[in-house]
């Protein structure tokens, strides 16, 4: 039987997700009602957000949850589902405005004040934002995979929930810089640097797990603990790298295309002395 603490955490988690979804839905509804369907938040973004929430739920329950309980690799797969599946989708949903709209007025005023304060504005400067996002991502990822925090999370459901929430949050922050609508996105070169800065330490973590000669975590595991841990390392490593590479390529090509629109490179020229222009 699942212990009560775990049940409670489950309930809280589901309620939180539901609340977020409800607030988002309400905000989007309001926006669309005022400005017409698909305004401000296009419907595909809304869909992405819902899908992201669904993935969060799926990752926490049922077979995924069981796999995560069974093996380290399963657990890492769960993390990756949250960080690479759910988070980018949630980020694509650009939930800021809709959720703010759905919150009660006093709260909204507070958030507004915070958002417009000097430190917050400083934090939103592209370079700072990129560095902070990459930094937070790295810290969250590494901190939770150190032996002790990992074992805490294994042992206690609430800690585990905090772990997952912080991972989704950090990844959300990171990917928001890349998938948000153009006006709030980081400029592509900075986005590229951010992905590189976040990707390298993440890969290093994967490498540590993969190459460790002994099981790192003191958690009950089967006889193939080491193989499991190696697989877990790769699960951390490959999907993230692949996704980041794809994102980098897309970003880069998009950026070049954009530059090309603004200042065409004039590539269809030929050599030979051009004709004299009349003065």
């Amino acid at each position: 039987m699942t212990p009560p603490a775990e049940q409670w955490t489950d309930v809280v988690g589901v309620v939180a997700v539901a609340a977020l979804g409800a607030a988002y839905g309400r905000g989007v509804h309001e926006l669309w009602a005022r400005r017409g369907h698909g305004a401000v938040v296009p419907s595909w973004r809304a869909g992405a957000f819902v899908l992201g929430l669904a993935i969060v739920l799926v990752a926490q329950q049922g077979p995924v949850h069981d796999a995560a309980e069974r093996s380290l690799a399963g657990h890492m797969a769960q993390h990756m589902l949250l960080m690479l599946g759910a988070a980018p989708l949630l980020a694509a949903g650009c939930a800021g405005l809709p959720v703010t709209l759905a919150t009660p007025r006093p709260l909204r005023q507070v958030t507004h004040r915070v958002r417009t304060s000097a430190p917050a504005r400083w934090l939103r400067r592209p370079l700072t934002a990129a560095l902070v996002a990459a930094g937070v991502h790295t810290v969250v990822l590494w901190a939770w995979h150190l032996p002790l925090p990992y074992e805490w999370a294994e042992a206690s459901a609430p800690v585990h929930a905090v772990e997952h929430a912080s991972m989704v949050g950090a990844a959300w922050l990171l990917w928001a810089g890349v998938v948000a609508p153009a006006s709030r996105r980081l400029s592509p070169p900075i986005g590229l640097l951010m992905l590189f800065a976040a990707g390298m330490p993440a890969a290093a973590l994967g490498a540590v797990l993969t190459f460790a000669p002994e099981p790192i975590y003191d958690v009950p595991s089967g006889p193939r603990a080491l193989a499991d841990q190696q697989l877990a390392g790769l699960v951390m490593w490959i999907p993230m790298d692949v996704l980041m590479l794809v994102a980098a390529v897309v970003l880069f090509l998009g950026w070049l295309a954009d530059l090309e629109r603004r200042s065409p490179a004039g590539r269809d020229l030929r050599p030979g002395l051009p004709e004299e222009v009349p003065t």
Binding site: S187, P189, F196, M200, A203, A207, T210, F211, A227, Q230, L231, G233, L234, W237, I238, D241, L245, A248, V249, F252, L253, L256, A257, L259, E260, R262, S263, A265, G266, R267, D268, L269, R270, P271, G272, P274, E275, V277
Partner: protein
């Protein structure tokens, strides 16, 4: 160079402007200015000449090795001599020849191609050159006194650690490379900043020549990869000299840590070497195919993706070390993936040739030679990427064959193409076409005769780094052929050298733009005046020299006076301001001497000398960067 009257009439720049610029930028030919120069063209040429000399020494090392290996059981060399030879050959070719040679090209060409008057940090540039010369000289000096590094170019521990390597040899290796790292890093930062900030107005990033992209990509790899090597070498030095235990398993250290660190650097490094070469190919082709390189965005994309993926494949050099099987499958996949961007480039060049109007002059021939050999070398690379196969052939001559195909075929062929192509710009003289063709055929045939047989001897089980081998294993013939080929190759390279010397001595003067090429370096005289461009070009196209507006602008524009160059925005190339450029100075040289003293002090264990060197270093740096005296108004002081 005299500018023809017709040329002069066409520019909107009067003789007064020219005289003024000459005064501002010209460096009096004197001993002082020889040591103090900060002109990127002089520094670039020096880089190339110095790297060329190092190439000849390292190549001669290889010839001695090949002579030893021509027959089995040869006793020409003792094992110690042989081991020093191949280590110095590899180390010097990689660190003292290939990278600095391309840095020389970059130094000379990047400012010209982007329409700037110098590098972003001219003094840092001079400093980088002096450090390079000193580091190279220290390393080669060790060879002449018989104390050269002998641990192979990747210096695996524990062999290179105490107690297995007692003499000073490996200290030279780790200190020398650390020393050199200073120069390479400085150069890389300089390239990036130059390319970002000093581009001529209008040169948005999608109008940047592919060669410049390649140099920037290379420089980014240097910035993020070289630290791993520097750290590894610093650790090795500490282990050897001060008894730390980074790599000592008996005290909790780890020998594989060295391999990881080395190859995290080492793999990006092979692209650091080849990327500028690919850039040269992209610069040479338009002139001889009379059209731009096809699919520019894809070319840029492949530069960027190579730079990124190259950081994720290093374990393919460690496929036999018994790391987890699972991780091998990952690195194997990543290593096969990295061929895609190379394939894109190859087929883009083929498309360029297919769609262009080919003029097969010597530089073009070397590009064709490059395509043939690089593709072959790339194939063997893909074979290694498949772990199971690599475990069989790693550390055999098959690997030696691979990396010479990619290093010589992939990097040196384009390099020679570049030398012929830009010789008019470097020296103001034209080379002789016939001699060039002869050189090409000798180099091409010699190269393949040297290195193709190594595939076979490798497959027949000949390990690398053996000073001799017994007869009867089926290796004798292949080695003999390789040696013969090496001599043919050497003659071919001698012809290349001859054509360069001949051109400088007796070649006919070169016009500003002998090839009708597309980039801005052809917009100035050959060789360019110290200020490069009297009129700063306004760029409208990725082929500015084929673009009427740019040419008109150059012809009619006003000269930018003063010791200044424009700065533009990073992405769009919008003009921001004109900045003053630093004058010639002895500080770079003195600073470099400071580091030299520091390194020599460490090498011999005279720590007080090292301390003195460090003091000189700090003092000169402080002096160098001391802000000029300013009046309160000028500084903007509010009391």
């Amino acid at each position: 160079m005299t500018v023809s009257t017709a040329e002069q009439l066409r520019t909107g720049v009067g003789p007064r402007d020219i005289a003024h610029l000459e005064r501002e930028w010209g460096e009096r030919p004197s001993l002082h200015s020889w040591f103090a120069t900060v002109d990127h063209k002089r520094i670039g040429r020096r880089y190339m000449v110095t790297a060329g000399i190092f190439f000849i020494i390292a190549g001669t090392d290889a010839m001695i090795m090949r002579t030893q290996l021509a027959r089995p059981n040869s006793t020409l060399l003792s094992p110690e001599e042989y081991n020093q030879l191949f280590t110095m050959h590899g180390t010097a070719m990689i660190f003292l020849f290939a990278t600095p040679m391309f840095f020389g090209f970059g130094n000379f060409l990047v400012p010209l191609m982007i329409g700037a008057r110098d590098m972003a940090f001219p003094r840092l540039n001079a400093f980088g050159y002096w450090v390079f010369v000193f580091a190279g000289s220290v390393m080669f000096a060790s060879q002449f006194v018989g104390a050269a590094p002998d641990g192979g170019w990747f210096g695996y521990v524990p062999l290179t650690d105490r107690p297995y390597s007692a003499g000073i040899n490996l200290d030279v290796y780790c200190l020398g490379l650390l020393f050199l790292g200073v120069s390479t890093t400085a150069g890389a930062i300089n390239f990036i900043v130059t390319a970002l900030k000093l581009r001529a107005p209008g040169m948005s990033l999608n109008r940047v020549p592919l060669f410049v992209w390649a140099i920037v990509g290379t420089s980014f790899m240097v910035v993020f990869a070289l630290p791993a090597l520097n750290l590894a070498n610093a650790m090795l030095f500490l282990d050897r000299r001060f008894g730390t235990h980074f790599f000592d398993p008996a005290h909790g250290g780890n020998t594989l840590l060295w391999q990881h660190l080395f190859w995290i650097f080492g793999h990006p490094d092979v692209y650091i070497i080849v990327m500028p070469a690919l850039g040269i190919v992209s610069a040479v082709l338009p002139a001889f195919c009379r059209r731009g390189v096809a699919a520019y965005p894809l070319m840029v994309l492949s530069i960027v993706t190579i730079a990124i993926i190259s950081f994720g494949v290093w374990v393919h050099h460690m496929f036999a070390t018994g790391l987890p099987q699972l991780s091998y499958s990952f690195f194997s996949a990543a290593s096969t993936l990295i061929t895609i961007p190379s394939g894109i480039q190859i087929f883009a060049w083929l498309a360029t040739m297919l769609k262009g109007q080919i003029r097969a002059r010597t530089p073009f021939l070397f590009v064709v030679g490059f395509v043939v050999t690089f593709v072959l070398g790339g194939f063997t690379g893909v074979m290694f990427a498949i772990t199971a196969f690599d475990q069989q052939v790693t550390d055999s001559y098959f690997v030696v064959a691979h990396f010479h195909y990619v290093l010589f075929g992939g990097a040196v062929f384009p390099m020679i193409a570049g030398i012929y192509f830009w010789l008019p710009k470097f020296t103001g003289r034209m080379y002789a076409e016939r001699l060039g063709r002869w050189a090409f055929w000798l180099v091409f045939v010699g190269f393949n005769t040297t290195f193709l047989p190594m595939h076979v001897s490798g497959l027949f089980g000949m390990p690398r780094r053996v000073y001799t081998y017994p007869t009867g294993l089926g290796w004798d013939a292949w080695n003999l052929i390789a040696t013969v080929g090496a001599y043919v190759l050497a003659i071919g390279l001698l012809l290349v050298l001859t054509s360069v010397v001949r051109a400088i001595r007796w070649g006919p003067p070169a016009p500003p733009d002998p090839w009708e090429a597309d980039t801005l370096e052809w917009a100035t005289s050959s060789p360019p005046r110290p200020y490069n461009f009297a009129v700063i070009p306004q760029v409208h196209s990725v082929h500015p020299m084929w673009d009427r507006r740019t040419r008109d602008g150059l012809a009619r524009g006003e000269a930018l006076s003063g010791h200044r160059t424009p700065q533009t925005s990073e992405l769009d190339g919008q003009h921001e301001r004109d900045t003053d450029m630093p004058e010639e100075s002895l500080m770079p040289l003195i600073t470099a001497v400071g580091i030299l003293v520091l390194v020599l002090g460490l090498l011999w264990g005279w720590y007080w000398v090292a301390g003195m060197g460090a003091t000189v270093l700090a003092g000169t740096l402080a002096r160098w960067l001391w802000p000029p005296e300013r009046s309160p108004q000028e500084a903007g002081i509010v009391s």
